[in-house]
């Protein structure tokens, strides 16, 4: 097993999308990333619409497409048709660049997120590091949007977003580092594989990292919600206070890009949580995918195994999205200072303790 670790660390896993012809590989990989970037968030958005509606005794979208499934597509078409308004006092260039800058990092993260056994565009050795580093660039777009709108509500929203994202970057990274320490790798594929082979010391029972690191899981989840400005941490948007925060002055496609950032961000974070804590594409702890028995669910598992793996992964992502929506439905929003206090006084110390405990355990066992 240790030898396997070593190989995984030095040799990256190859994607099943890598073909003889580089052109075909490129096409497949771009299709995968764009698919995850454009389609999965729509599914997540639909799930949000429907779940929220049913929890609130409503029906949600029903008209656009069967059971309203095409609602978000229809929204997209509407956004394209809308007039693109730039306030006169706004800083035109920064105002226009901001949504793109917020959106692109999310797209880039999808390049390293594995969706199933061998289904990923790229397995970076520093995958986790890359994902977290790129992810924090988004805040720049939000700050730019808030500043350039020449609107005090936008400005306050942008500043809140900046403060919030910086505060929650720390617990997020600390929690992620703890996983990396336990897995012994920064590669996202490697982390999944490490979970498939992690046994309770002295026994034969396989466990995902979410169980020994439940504190880390909670911290990562809360920090991810705050990072995404999802309710109950949606102070940067806070529609009853700041109208719509940094998005107040945006309309049309630019607004749609901010929205897509939010939904794609939800998917990214849900995927990271799945990969880091919930065993990636493994159906259950210790249960390998059909056709993958020998390879611990890491590489080529055949068509059925791969498809089941992707399905399991998507299912877990959607389950996490469901929990995020659930919290949105059930809770009011916190105040910015309460949020900051929670981050610095509760989550960061907890994450440090968690890191210390896991590190010690790793050395001892």
């Amino acid at each position: 097993m240790t030898t396997f670790h070593a190989t995984a660390f030095t040799n990256q896993a190859t994607s099943i999308l890598t073909q003889e012809s580089w052109l075909v590989s490129l096409g497949l990989k771009v299709a995968l990333v764009l698919g995850m970037f454009l389609v999965v968030p729509l599914v997540g958005g639909y799930l949000e619409h429907k779940t929220m509606a049913r929890m609130q005794d409503r029906r949600g979208p029903v008209e656009a497409g069967p059971f309203g499934t095409l609602q978000l597509v229809a929204d997209g078409i509407k956004f394209i048709q809308k007039e693109d308004i730039i306030p006169r006092a706004a800083d035109r260039w920064i105002f226009s660049l901001a949504p793109g800058l917020a959106l692109v990092p999310t797209l880039l993260i999808f390049a390293v997120v594995p969706l199933g056994p061998g289904v990923f565009a790229l397995d970076l050795e520093l995958g986790l590091f890359y994902a977290l580093a790129i992810g924090s660039v988004s805040v720049l777009g939000i700050l730019m949007g808030g500043w350039a709108s020449a609107n005090k509500f936008s400005l306050i929203g942008g500043l809140r977003a900046g403060g919030q994202l910086i505060a929650y970057e720390l617990p997020l990274i600390l929690a992620a580092i703890t996983v990396a320490v336990q897995a012994g790798t920064l590669s996202l594929v490697g982390i999944v594989e490490a979970q498939a082979t992690f046994m309770i010391p002295g026994t034969d029972i396989n466990l995902w990292f979410g169980v020994p690191q439940f504190v880390g899981l909670a911290i990562f989840f809360i920090a991810a919600m705050a990072e995404l400005s999802r309710p109950p941490f949606d102070m940067p948007i806070a529609d009853s206070e700041l109208v719509f925060g940094y998005m107040t002055e945006y309309s049309g496609m630019k607004f749609a890009m901010f929205l897509l950032t939010e939904y794609a961000g939800m998917i990214v974070m849900a995927a990271l949580i799945t990969v880091l804590y919930l065993g990636g594409w493994q159906p259950l702890p210790g249960v390998p995918l059909p056709g993958c028995e020998g390879t611990a669910g890491l590489f080529d598992c055949g068509l059925v195994g791969t498809l089941v793996g992707v399905g399991v992964m998507l299912g877990k992502i959607m389950a996490i999205v469901f929990v995020m929506v659930w919290l949105r439905v059930a809770y009011p929003r916190l105040r910015e200072d309460q949020l900051q206090r929670m981050s610095w006084l509760v989550l960061v110390p907890l994450a440090l303790v968690n890191l210390a405990v896991v590190t010690v355990a790793k050395v001892v066992f």
Binding site: T51, A53, R54, M55, Q56, D57, R58, R59, V62, W326, L327, V329, A330, Y331, L334, Q338, R341, M342, L345, V346
Partner: protein, 356 residues
């Protein structure tokens, strides 16, 4: 999450409430597909029964928004009887309600003394152009088909005096009608001829005593209206009305062809004829049809001279002769003599004890 304390039971309860509702049934009414169930008193749109309108202008004057427009002209009606005089009456030319101004307070419906205005729960008449919110007489008349019967009153309620009286009268009449019908043993005219008991209190005093049971829909009319692009609800209401009209026509024909008519139906037909001729003829309070209005008037103002209507336009011959002798023109003499006769007649009625 009181700043530093760990999340407590309240957070879990919140999750519990929402997940409970996830399993529940949504309370949304799928409006255009599912029709709202509106109570009969709903103030949706104002319908006009123009036959009842006497152009008294009360509604237009009481309207806080002044959104009712009424035009009328005077018309002389030839004398109803030999030797009578021609009378003038107001004819309604235009009755329009501007629903873009209307604030749905219901005062016009409340003040209308002749039940010409009604509330209907219908509400689907929004327009793209504001001018089209001005509903003219024809459109207002169409709403009449959608007016539901008023709901019964609560058990603890006291029926208004005039209604109670009318109900009592109607019941008596009904009993009489059944008696006569049974005596005549005519199975054709029986069900149609009898007046629908308590309903008379609220019933439209309009067409005839013939009641049609059941509410079938005239499919032909319905299809035609749908083809014209009317809403389903509107088409249904109109088609139903068309069916009722047809049915009444049929029953009336049947009745007139049958030999053994009861005297009751005769009276009813007569009164119908008169009320068609003269809308304001509440005078002949004896006929069953006009019971309500007569009762109404009796209840409202008993001893006031001005409220007593005197039928016919006879001339006080004595006065006439005297005036002619005084050298007045024939026209003036006739008018004054007539007025004198009316005065006398009223005095006589009051002396007799008030009730018309």
């Amino acid at each position: 999450m009181a700043t530093t304390s760990p999340p407590g039971i309240g957070l879990l309860k919140g999750l519990g409430v929402t997940i409970k509702h996830l399993a529940g049934r949504p309370s949304t009414q799928m409006y255009p597909k599912e029709r709202p169930d509106l109570p009969p008193r709903t103030r949706g749109v104002i319908a006009l029964m123009d036959e009842n309108c006497t152009v008294c202008m009360l509604c237009a004057r009481e309207c806080p928004d002044w959104c009712i427009y009424i035009d009328s002209h005077k018309e002389s009606v030839p004398a109803a009887k030999e030797g009578g005089r021609a009378r003038t009456r107001n004819v309604l030319d235009r009755f329009a309600i501007d629903f873009s101004l209307c604030m749905y307070c219901g005062i016009c419906v409340e003040v209308c003394p002749f039940d010409a205005l009604w509330w209907s729960p219908e509400f689907e008449y929004s327009e793209y152009v504001m001018d089209e919110m001005l509903h003219e007489m024809g459109r207002l008349r169409e709403w009449m088909d959608t007016v539901p019967p008023p709901p019964g009153l609560d058990d603890g309620a006291v029926a208004p005096a005039e209604v109670a009286e009318a109900i009592e009268k109607a019941e008596l009449e009904q009993a009489k009608a059944i008696e006569t019908a049974e005596a005549a043993d005519s199975d054709d005219a029986k069900p149609e001829a009898k007046d629908g008991g308590g309903k008379s209190a609220e019933a439209k005093p309009k067409k005839s005593d013939i009641r049609v049971e059941g509410g079938e829909v005239d499919q032909e009319v319905y299809d035609q209206l749908i083809a014209e692009g009317k809403s389903e609800r509107m088409a249904r209401a109109k088609a139903k009305a068309a069916w009722v009209r047809k049915e009444k026509q049929r029953l009336a024909e049947e009745q007139s062809s049958s030999d053994d008519q009861t005297s009751d139906t005769d009276a009813a037909d007569d009164s119908e004829a008169t009320s068609d001729d003269d809308a304001s003829a509440a005078d002949d309070g004896a006929s069953a049809d006009d019971t309500d209005e007569a009762a109404d008037e009796a209840a409202e103002a008993k001893p006031k001279k001005s409220d007593i209507r005197v039928e016919g336009g006879e001339v006080d011959q004595e006065v006439y002769d005297q005036l002619i002798a005084e050298g007045k023109s024939e026209r003036i003499a006739r008018a004054k003599a007539k007025a004198a006769w009316v005065r006398k007649e009223k005095q006589r009625i009051i002396d007799e004890g008030g009730d018309a």
